[in-house]
């Protein structure tokens, strides 16, 4: 403990520096002025001024997901804190480590309905992993360090620290990270050895196996992805990834089946449906993955590896639960596999791969770009080709374009793909791209966007302009809230209630007002040129690519249906009407 007393605000900045924080995404206001004053007086930590607090949290999420570090947010009390709520919920659902500092009215005014007061810890309790209200500056150093520990360890998530203004101004000694005892929260990393033995035995004896892996692999760190790849290749088994897991296993590998779930490939979902042993690694049997629960992988013995015990047996009862960190577990599995000289059942596996080859032959992601309207899938397929081998990061908004991006852009490495999976937050992609670009100034960062989502957080174009962030906004402009329109077509008799986007801005002119490059095309023949120009332009770009407004995203497991009841394309839908129970599902 140092002996000179400093202000609470200075303690906060010292703690941030101590935690290795380089960037804070924030927006000032009355309650956080002491902290902004402390920021003004130092140059170790960079502050990025967003244009709305929601943008700050998504930017921090993009930063965190692309680096594996904790993203840091600073907002004022009241509206600053409430604007952050969507981002916090998003980070909770997708297990993104965030520390969000919120200003608060001085302690003596708390509970008085003071100006810009809100019950921040009350509001954020259900949408954070944990939150703190610091009422005494003596607790401040400890809370700061503990918050980072909680945010990043175990299953990561957002942590809020609510900071009354008087606490930020009071004087106290700073306690550095090393002197804080963190005994409170110690999630289990090492798995149970017996479970590992059982799992290896089951895996080795499988005849129709599948690895089903998710965002937990990515959260566990790049080593986990490396170990996963090694283990999957060692077994020769097929591997599918969730939306959150893309990049955890190389998409270009022949054992990769593509994404699974509601808009997953036919082969991935059929393999899940028909498997006899399922190895779930860092995924959580979400409803977008399982489809109808009572028809989910009916013949499978299931192994579930997760650091969060509450994910296990939540939706789907599993046979071998393994609680632990993915990298630790994979290392142990691999060791036992090698020690026991396990060999997969080659004959059974050949048969299984032959079956999978038949499913693959359906070519569920095929589309027809023969007409003179641009197909959105074509744009993403071309983008994937043009950025191959490049140091690039992709963020997305939410809707059809997001699913097409997941289907057509292949990711060979983790941390390259940022999307709002659990919450499905439109407006995520643009600020997230900002955060990614801050972390990786030299890399290509593309926000694959829909025109409706783009309008949700486009105030951040001003931030992009201020910091000269060369973010590329690729708008697949179908003039509709496409995903909403698709559900209305399939489930609500094509009554397109309020899903048409009226009065869209001229995106090229919009780019111009922010000093960005604006590009536009409506012709398939120009797609490559526009994409190349977008990629090669040094500064930020908005590319308005006007695509087929009627295109639907397939394959699709309609709500309430099972994996083997996928709709493969427009002609399929008439024969497979959606059930009543399916209609009420989201």
């Amino acid at each position: 403990m140092s002996t000179t007393k400093i202000s609470g605000a200075e303690i906060i900045l010292k703690a941030l520096a101590d935690q290795g924080v380089e960037v804070v995404f924030g927006y000032p206001g009355g309650a956080v002025l002491p902290i902004y004053d402390a920021i003004f007086n130092q140059n170790q930590i960079r502050h990025i001024l967003v244009r709305q607090e929601g943008g700050a949290v998504h930017a921090a999420e993009g930063y965190a997901r692309s680096t594996g570090k904790v993203g840091v947010v600073l907002v004022t009390s009241g509206p600053g804190a409430t604007n952050a709520v969507t981002g916090l919920t998003d980070a909770l659902m997708d297990s993104i480590p965030i520390v969000c500092l919120t200003g608060q009215v001085p302690t003596h005014l708390i509970g008085n309905d003071a100006f810009q007061e809100c019950d921040t810890t009350g509001i954020t309790r259900p949408c954070t992993k944990h939150n703190y209200l610091v009422k005494d500056v003596k607790d401040l150093s400890k809370v700061m360090h503990e918050a980072f520990h909680v945010a990043r360890s175990g299953r990561p998530g957002p942590v809020v620290i609510d900071l009354p203004k008087d606490v930020c101004m009071a004087l106290e000694n700073y306690t550095p990270k090393e002197e804080i005892e963190l005994k409170k929260y110690q999630p289990r990393l090492k798995p149970d050895a017996d479970r590992i033995e059982e799992a290896v035995e089951l895996i080795a004896g499988a005849k129709k196996p599948v690895f089903y892996c998710g965002g937990g692999v990515i959260n566990s760190g790049p080593e986990a992805s490396r170990l996963l790849t090694e283990f999957v290749r060692e077994t020769g088994y097929p591997c599918t990834l969730t939306l959150m897991g893309l990049g955890a296993y190389p998409a270009s590998d022949k054992q990769f089946l593509g994404m699974l779930g509601m808009h997953g490939t036919y082969e991935a979902n059929m393999t899940m449906h028909g498997c006899d042993v399922m190895v779930c690694v860092g995924a959580r049997f979400d409803d977008r993955i399982t489809g109808r629960l009572d028809a989910f992988a009916p013949g499978a013995k299931k192994i579930h590896i997760d650091i969060d015990p509450s994910s296990i047996n939540k939706n789907v009862k599993v046979d071998i639960p393994i609680v632990g960190d993915v990298a630790h577990v994979l290392k142990d599995l691999m060791k036992v596999w090698k020690d026991k000289k396990c060999k997969p059942d080659a004959k059974a596996l050949d048969k299984w791969w032959a079956q999978i080859a038949d499913w693959r032959a359906i070519d569920s992601l095929k589309f027809d770009q023969s007409g003179d309207i641009i197909k959105p899938q074509y744009v993403l397929q071309r983008l994937g080709e043009l950025i191959k081998g490049r140091d690039s990061y992709i963020t997305t908004e939410v809707g059809q374009h997001q699913m097409w991006a997941a289907q057509y852009l292949g990711f060979d490495e983790p941390n390259r793909w940022m999307t709002s999976g659990g919450l499905g937050t439109m407006g995520y992609g643009l600020p997230a791209a900002m955060g990614v670009q801050i972390a990786h100034p030299q890399s290509l960062v593309v926000d694959v966007s829909g025109e409706a989502s783009f309008l949700m957080n486009m105030q951040e174009l001003s931030t992009i302009s201020q910091y000269r962030l060369p973010v590329k906004c690729l708008i697949l402009n179908n003039f509709y809230m496409g995903m909403v329109r698709q559900w209305q077509e399939l489930l609500h008799g094509s009554r397109y209630s309020e899903s048409y986007m009226e009065s869209l801005p001229d995106f090229v002119k919009l780019a111009d007002t922010f000093g960005m490059t604006g590009l536009r095309t409506t012709k398939p023949g120009e797609v490559d040129d526009v994409l190349k120009e977008m990629i090669e332009t040094d500064g930020p770009v908005i590319a308005d690519i006007q695509v087929d407004p009627a295109e639907n995203c397939f394959p699709m497991i309609p709500s309430g249906a099972a994996h083997n009841e996928m709709l493969l394309g427009p002609d399929d839908k008439a024969e497979k009407p959606v059930s009543e129970e399916g209609m009420v599902l989201v």
Binding site: R125, P126, S310
Partner: protein, 170 residues
């Protein structure tokens, strides 16, 4: 109904840091995820370490009960979650204060029944008694039912406190 869907009652003991908001976290978890709370009691049990013990009686299928425990275990200020119903024999006690307003035969009868249940009179006027009764939930329910026709006027119950039998602590 299959065994998987059978609904059972479980008594869960939780040790938590006695800090502001901790009860809100626990209750918010139950309401947010749609779990039942049949009874919940809380009080500090270790003043030095500022540890409180929460006893929750809840109900659900086997999978839900497992979820409840895992979700509780995930909360940062929670040190220990223990399912007394699964962990072996335990004792459950609840205290109730029961006000009965009556005169004549009914008044006499209420006193007689209180005696059988070993309920104590802790307040009395010419027309009323307040009984204090301790026991498991079933005993309290039975006593209250018997008091209903005898002028039952008010009830205050503590909810269940529970502890494992034998030498082991939580």
């Amino acid at each position: 109904m299959t065994i998987d869907q059978q609904i059972n009652f479980h008594t869960i003991s939780v040790l938590v840091d006695n800090e502001p908001g901790v009860l809100a976290r626990v209750i918010g978890l139950f309401s947010g995820r749609g779990y039942n709370i049949e009874s919940l009691t809380v009080a500090e049990v270790d003043i030095e370490k500022a540890i409180s013990r929460i006893t929750i009686v809840t109900s659900g299928t086997e999978m839900i009960i497992e979820q409840i425990k895992a979700q509780l275990g995930r909360l940062v200020p929670i040190h220990k979650v223990s399912d007394l119903t699964l962990d072996g024999p335990h004792v459950e006690r609840e205290l109730a204060l029961v006000k009965v307003v009556s005169t004549g035969d009914k008044r006499v009868e209420s006193l007689r029944i209180a005696d059988i249940f070993r309920a104590r009179v802790v307040d009395s006027t010419n027309e009323s008694f307040v009984f204090e009764i301790v026991g498991d939930t079933g005993k309290l329910n039975a006593f209250i039912d018997l008091m209903r026709p005898l002028g039952l006027a008010d009830i205050s119950r503590t909810g269940v406190a529970a502890i494992a039998r034998g030498t082991e602590g939580l």
